[in-house]
């Protein structure tokens, strides 16, 4: 019981939370980059999972990388971080489900997750990173403030400088 509390306290430590947030944000932005520049290979990769009907494959390939990018930017800048954490956890859960389903059906396909994967086939080891991303997203959704470093620090500095200069004459 106390060990569990200790782990929970450690996960809520602001430094660990910051590291998780920045890592998850960087990973999402990296994952989105090549997909949003050229959605066709990503559409092919989605179709190979044989989960979505064809009518939804292309729109998913177009929209998903941009959602990853926006969520990643929110995590990096500290804007609306719990919402970005929730989106991150949801995306990671979807990826885990798709990967596990493909492996259980014996599909020999690529992951379609990052650029430069080459011809490597999907493997159970591909799940670990998504599980870690899910955990990070859940932690951020539960514990992070809505405005976090660095945006929170910039905002505080701006209001301090406004107070220091005082009210403008005639205002």
């Amino acid at each position: 019981m106390s060990a569990g509390r200790g782990i929970a306290r450690r996960l809520l430590d602001p430094h660990i939370a910051l590291a998780l947030r920045l890592s998850a944000g960087a990973l999402l932005i990296y994952a989105s980059y090549d997909k949003l520049l050229d959605p066709q290979p990503f559409a092919d990769a989605i179709d190979e999972y044989r989960i979505l009907p064809l009518a939804l494959v292309d729109v998913t390939a177009v929209v998903l990388p941009w959602i990853e990018l926006v969520a990643g930017l929110c995590l990096i800048t500290g804007l609306g971080t719990p919402g970005a954490g929730l989106v991150t956890a949801a995306l990671a859960a979807v990826y885990c489900g798709a990967i596990a389903s493909a492996l259980l059906r014996g599909l020999e396909i690529g992951c379609g997750c990052f650029a430069g994967e080459g011809a490597s086939l999907l493997a159970w080891s591909d799940l670990w990173l998504r599980l870690a991303l899910f955990a990070a997203g859940a932690q951020i959704a539960v514990a992070a403030p809505f405005l976090d470093w660095p945006l929170a620090a910039l905002s505080a500095r701006a209001s301090r400088s406004r107070r220091a200069t005082g009210p403008t004459p005639g205002a």
Binding site: A45, L54, V62, W66, P82, G83, G85, L86, V87
Partner: protein, 155 residues
């Protein structure tokens, strides 16, 4: 607590809406954009040798040989997949594994009066592949033009 949950859900919804809108907008203006509405080519849309060669060189299309296996072994378009018309139903699982339904396919047979490429292309469209074309001249004209061919099984 309830306020935090509501704000979290609102932020998540905003990220989904903004990301989705940016994705649709970028896809509409980008030269790499893809069609969002399925644009199936009519089954059996005939293409000429020159267009088939362009699709071959581009590397984006996969060639499907609709002839019997023996004909395929004695010569076929390099890299082609053999799907004899009579055995197509048993090949569906393999095709779905190997060919994304978004990928253009070029089906061919012996050309001339041969109908197996037309029938196979209609079956492929019916099975979900959206861009299926038929090389109307068939394999003999492709080979006679000196375009890349192979013999035996494909690796």
């Amino acid at each position: 607590m309830r306020g935090r949950l509501a704000w979290t859900l609102a932020c998540a919804a905003a990220i989904l809406v903004v990301g989705g809108a940016l994705g649709l907008l970028a896809n509409a203006v980008s030269s790499a954009g893809i069609p969002l509405v399925a644009k199936s080519a009519p089954p059996g849309r005939a293409i000429e040798l020159a267009e088939a060669r362009l699709l071959f060189e581009d590397g984006g299309a996969r060639f499907i040989d609709a002839r019997p296996h023996g004909d395929f072994l004695s010569g076929h378009v390099a890299g082609a997949l053999n799907v004899p018309l009579a055995e197509r139903a048993g090949e569906l699982d393999r095709l779905r594994r190997e060919l994304p339904r978004t990928r253009p396919l070029v089906v061919y047979c012996e050309g001339g009066e041969c109908a197996s490429a037309l029938e196979l292309s209609a079956w492929l469209v019916g099975s979900g592949w959206r861009d299926v074309r038929v090389l109307s001249d068939g394999y003999p004209v492709w080979a006679a033009a000196g375009f890349p061919v192979a013999r035996g099984e494909e690796p």
